[in-house]
C-alpha cells in the first residue's frame, strides 16, 4: 500500500518497505527517496484520517503587533469559530462581536451567487458557448468573505480560482460573463483566456496564468502604497501547488525585508490539478509554518468556516493597515470540483472525496448557523437560491445575446495590436494593415 502522507503531521518517511526492513547491499545502505502520495486513489475509499481537525474556539487572538515567534500554535493549529452545533465559540468569535444578520445573509447570498455562476458557466462550457471554465466549488467562503472585509482601493493579486473576490466586490456580472464569452461585453477585448479577469476599479489585479508571479507583485504594490502614503493594502493569493514556485519565496523574502502592508493568502485546497498537496508541502507541517522561517506571522484557518474567515481576514487586514507588516494566512479547504473543464478528477482521486472532506461545505455551514440564530430557514434558502439563479440566468441570457462561441460575434482583429504599447510602433502598424484592419 502506498505510504499515506501528510497534511497536518508531515509526510511519513518512505525509507522502509512493507516489512519495515532496510535494504542493504554490502555495507551500503540503499537510500530510498520520499514520494508523497495522497491518502486515497480512485479505486479506494476517501480517507482523510491523517487530517486532524482541532476543536473550534481554542486558539487565541494575537495582538496586531504579534511577531512570528508568537504564532507557532496559530500556524500549526487551525482557527475555527463555528462549533459542531454551528455556534460561534472562543476568542475569535468574541473578536467578531455581535454580527448583524444582514452581514451574514450577505455572505450566504455571495456564496450562493458564486455557486450559481459556476453552475451556469460550467453548463455554458459544456454547450460549447465558451472555450474554458474553472469552478471554485467548496472554496466560496474564503474570497467572498475576505473581499467584504477590504476597503475601496485595496488591491487583490488573485489566482484564477478567486472569482469569489469579484462577486463579493459587486463586479457587474455582465462584464464578468462578457469576459468568459470573449464577446463585445468583454472588458479585455478577447485577449485573455476566460476566467483571467482584470478589474482595477474592483480591486482585482490582472490575472497572469503563470503561477506564482502575482505573489511578489502584491508585495511591490503594497510597497508602493506605503511609499506614496495611500493607506491602502495589497492581498496576494496563491494555491498550495504554486507555493512551490520561485515567486512564493521571493514574496515572503521581500515582505520580510521591507515589511509592507500585504496579506499573503495561501488557499490550500489539497490538489494542484492532479498533484497531491504533499508534493508541494514535502516535510513542511503546514504552509503557514513556512512563513515563520521568514519571520512573518502566520495563521492556519478553517477556510470552510465563514466566521473564521471573517475573523482572521478582519484581523490580518487591520494589522496590515496599521503598519504592523505582512501576515500569511493558510486557508485550509478542499477543491470540490475539477481543476477546470479540461480536467477529470475521477482519474486521480476518489469520486466521493469531496463528501468525505472533514470541514464540510461552507454554504451549508453558514446556512446552518443562520438557521440556528433564527435568522434564516430552509424555505428562505430555497427561495434565495431560486431568486439568485433567476438573476444569474437573466444576465447570462442578455450577455449571450452579444455572442458566444456557438453564435460568435467576433471582436475585431484590430484589438490584437492595440495596447501592446501605449503608442503603436511602426512595425505593429504595418502588421495590423496586413490583417486588413
Amino acid at each position: 500500500m502506498a505510504d499515506i502522507s501528510i497534511t497536518t503531521k508531515g509526510a511519513r518517511e518512505a525509507s522502509e518497505d512493507e516489512s519495515g526492513a532496510m535494504h542493504t547491499a554490502g555495507d551500503i545502505t540503499r537510500i530510498r527517496l520520499q514520494f508523497p502520495h495522497p491518502p486515497a486513489r480512485p479505486d479506494q475509499p476517501a480517507d482523510f484520517s491523517a487530517i486532524t481537525v482541532p476543536e473550534a474556539g481554542i486558539l487565541p487572538v494575537p495582538p496586531l503587533d504579534i511577531e512570528a515567534g508568537g504564532c507557532r500554535d496559530l500556524a500549526l493549529g487551525m482557527v475555527r469559530v463555528l462549533d459542531d452545533n454551528n455556534q460561534p465559540v472562543g476568542p475569535w468569535a468574541d473578536y467578531l462581536g455581535d454580527l448583524s444578520a444582514d452581514r451574514l445573509r450577505q455572505g450566504l447570498r455571495d456564496m450562493l451567487k458564486m455557486r450559481a455562476i459556476d453552475r451556469r458557466m460550467l453548463n455554458a462550457q459544456r454547450q460549447g458557448k465558451t472555450s474554458f471554465y474553472l469552478q471554485c466549488t467548496g472554496e466560496e467562503a474564503i474570497g467572498c468573505c475576505f473581499q467584504r472585509e477590504l476597503s475601496q482601493g485595496d488591491m487583490n493579486f488573485p489566482t484564477y480560482r478567486q472569482q469569489t473576490l469579484l462577486v463579493a466586490a459587486d463586479y457587474p456580472l455582465e462584464q464578468m460573463m462578457g469576459q468568459l464569452y470573449s464577446n463585445a461585453l468583454d472588458p479585455l477585448k478577447g485577449r485573455q483566456l476566460p476566467i483571467m479577469h482584470s478589474a482595477r476599479d474592483y480591486g482585482f489585479f490582472s490575472i497572469s496564468g503563470n503561477l506564482g508571479t502575482q505573489y511578489v507583485q502584491a508585495v511591490g504594490w503594497a510597497m508602493a502604497a506605503a511609499l506614496t502614503g495611500t493607506g491602502k493594502i495589497a492581498a496576494g493569493w496563491i494555491g498550495d501547488g504554486a507555493t512551490a514556485s520561485n515567486d512564493f519565496h521571493s514574496a515572503l523574502l521581500t515582505a520580510s525585508v521591507y515589511v509592507p502592508p500585504v496579506v499573503l493568502n495561501v488557499v490550500n485546497n489539497q490538489w494542484a490539478i492532479s498533484t497531491y498537496t504533499g508534493i508541494a508541502a514535502g516535510k513542511s507541517e503546514t504552509y503557514a509554518a513556512r512563513a515563520l522561517g521568514y519571520g512573518i506571522p502566520a495563521i492556519r484557518v478553517d477556510g470552510n468556516d465563514y466566521l473564521a474567515v471573517m475573523a482572521v481576514s478582519r484581523w490580518a487586514i487591520a494589522r496590515a493597515r496599521q503598519g504592523q507588516g505582512p501576515v500569511l494566512i493558510e486557508w485550509f479547504t478542499y477543491r470540490a470540483a475539477a481543476h477546470s473543464t479540461s480536467d477529470d478528477p475521477s482519474a486521480y482521486r476518489p469520486r466521493d472525496e469531496a463528501r468525505a472532506w472533514p470541514l464540510g461545505d461552507p454554504v451549508e455551514r453558514l446556512k446552518a448557523h443562520l438557521i440556528a440564530r433564527g435568522d434564516w430557514s430552509e424555505e428562505r434558502q430555497v427561495q434565495a437560491e431560486a431568486e439568485i439563479l433567476d438573476e444569474v440566468n437573466a444576465v447570462q441570457k442578455a450577455v449571450e445575446a452579444h455572442g458566444t462561441f456557438v453564435d460568435p460575434q467576433p471582436i475585431s482583429p484590430a484589438e490584437i495590436f492595440l495596447n501592446v504599447y501605449a503608442d503603436m510602433p511602426e512595425h505593429l502598424r504595418r502588421q495590423r494593415q496586413e490583417t486588413g484592419y
Partner: protein, 337 residues
C-alpha cells in the same frame, strides 16, 4: 559642458529623474548604500534617501516582480540587474508580466519600468559576466530594448526610458563604461573625456527611443552595429579606409527601419555586427528586414560578424570577441562581391 563617463552619465540621468519625478524609484543588488558594483548609483541614496534608492536581496525575480507591482500602481521603478547574465530568474516577470500587462488588462494596468543591466564582454568576465542577451528581449512583444554606445546617448536614452509609458530593457555595454573601445585589448585606453560624445549636459534632455544615429556617413557599405561594436566598427573602417556608413541602432525594439533602409538603398551593401552569439541573434532579424526592404538595391549578400555559437570563454576572450580582423574580412568580402 561637463565631461562624463557613461557611468556618470547614467547616474546623472537617474539623478535628474529622481529629482523631477517623485514616482521614480531606484533599486537592485548593491545599488543603495554602496552605489552599485559599477558605481552607477553612487551617491543617489545619500541624496534621495532610502525610500527612493535601496538595496535588494539577491533575487532578480523579486526585483522585477516588485517593480511590476509598483509600476502597475503608477510608480516608475528603474531597477538594476547586476549583470545581464543574471537576468534569467527575472525572465518570467519581464516577458510574461511586465511586457503583457497593458495588453492583457486592456490598459487597466500598465508597466512603466526600466530594467538596467550591464551587457557584453571585453572585461575578462567569463561566461557569467559577458553575455549579450538582447535577442531574448527583442523577441518579446510589449518590450522596448535600448543599448547606448556613448555617454551622451546613455543619459538621454535612460531619461527617455524612465519617462516611457512601457517597460524598457536598458542594456549598458560595460566594456565602454569608462571609455570607447577600438577593439584592440592591448591598445591605449581612451577615456570618455577625450571623446566628443563624452560631453554631457548636466540637466534634463532626452534622446528619443526608436531612433538610430548615423555616426559616420559613407556611400560604399552600410554597417549596422550597437553598443561596444559601434566603436570597434568605426576603428576598423578608419583603419581600412572604407567609405562605410555606420549606423548606431541605439534602440533595437522598436527598430528605426527608415534610417537603415535609406542607407542600404544608397550603399547597396550591408554588414551587421554584434557581440552576441550568431544563430538566431538580432543580426538575423536585421538581415531579414534589410533584404525585405532593400533586396533590389543589394549588390552583395549581407554578412554577419558575431560572437561564436559557444559559451563566452574566459582565457580565449579575444579569440571569441568579434574584433577588427573579423570585421575587416567581412567588409572586404562584401565590397568585393
Amino acid at each position: 559642458m561637463a565631461r562624463m563617463t557613461m557611468i556618470e552619465a547614467l547616474r546623472s540621468a537617474m539623478d535628474v529623474k529622481l529629482a523631477d519625478d517623485p514616482s521614480v524609484i531606484v533599486f537592485g543588488e548593491d545599488v543603495g548604500y554602496f552605489g552599485g558594483v559599477f558605481r552607477c548609483t553612487a551617491g543617489l541614496q545619500a541624496r534621495y534617501g532610502e525610500e527612493r534608492v535601496f538595496d535588494t536581496p539577491i533575487n532578480e525575480s523579486a526585483i522585477v516582480g516588485m517593480a511590476v507591482g509598483m509600476a502597475a500602481q503608477g510608480m516608475r521603478p528603474c531597477v538594476e540587474i547586476q549583470f545581464a547574465d543574471y537576468v534569467f530568474p527575472a525572465y518570467d516577470q519581464i516577458t510574461q508580466e511586465a511586457a503583457r500587462l497593458r495588453h492583457r488588462s486592456n490598459g487597466q494596468f500598465t508597466c512603466p519600468l526600466v530594467v538596467r543591466m550591464p551587457t557584453g564582454g571585453g572585461i575578462f568576465g567569463g561566461q557569467t559576466h559577458s553575455q549579450s542577451p538582447e535577442a531574448l528581449f527583442t523577441h518579446v512583444a510589449g518590450l522596448k530594448v535600448v543599448i547606448p554606445s556613448n555617454p551622451y546617448d546613455a543619459k538621454g536614452l535612460l531619461i527617455a526610458a524612465i519617462e516611457d509609458p512601457d517597460p524598457v530593457i536598458f542594456l549598458e555595454p560595460k566594456r565602454i563604461y569608462n571609455g570607447p573601445f577600438a577593439g584592440d585589448p592591448h591598445g591605449k585606453s581612451v577615456p570618455w573625456s577625450a571623446h566628443p560624445a563624452g560631453e554631457v549636459p548636466e540637466g534634463h534632455y532626452s534622446v528619443p527611443l526608436g531612433t538610430a544615429s548615423v555616426c559616420r556617413e559613407g556611400s560604399a557599405v552600410t554597417v549596422l552595429a550597437y553598443g561596444t561594436m559601434v566603436h570597434v566598427a568605426q576603428a576598423t573602417v578608419d583603419r581600412m579606409g572604407v567609405d562605410a556608413e555606420i549606423i548606431d541602432l541605439r534602440t533595437l525594439l522598436p527598430l528605426d527601419l527608415d534610417t537603415i533602409r535609406a542607407s542600404v538603398e544608397k550603399t547597396g551593401r550591408c554588414v551587421v555586427i554584434h557581440e552576441a552569439t550568431r544563430t538566431s541573434g538580432f543580426g538575423a532579424e536585421l538581415i531579414a528586414e534589410v533584404q525585405e526592404a532593400c533586396f533590389w538595391h543589394l549588390l552583395a549578400p549581407i554578412l554577419r560578424v558575431a560572437g561564436w555559437d559557444a559559451p563566452y570563454p574566459h582565457a580565449q576572450e579575444w579569440d571569441y570577441f568579434p574584433g577588427p580582423d573579423r570585421i575587416a574580412r567581412a567588409l572586404q568580402q562584401v565590397m568585393e562581391a
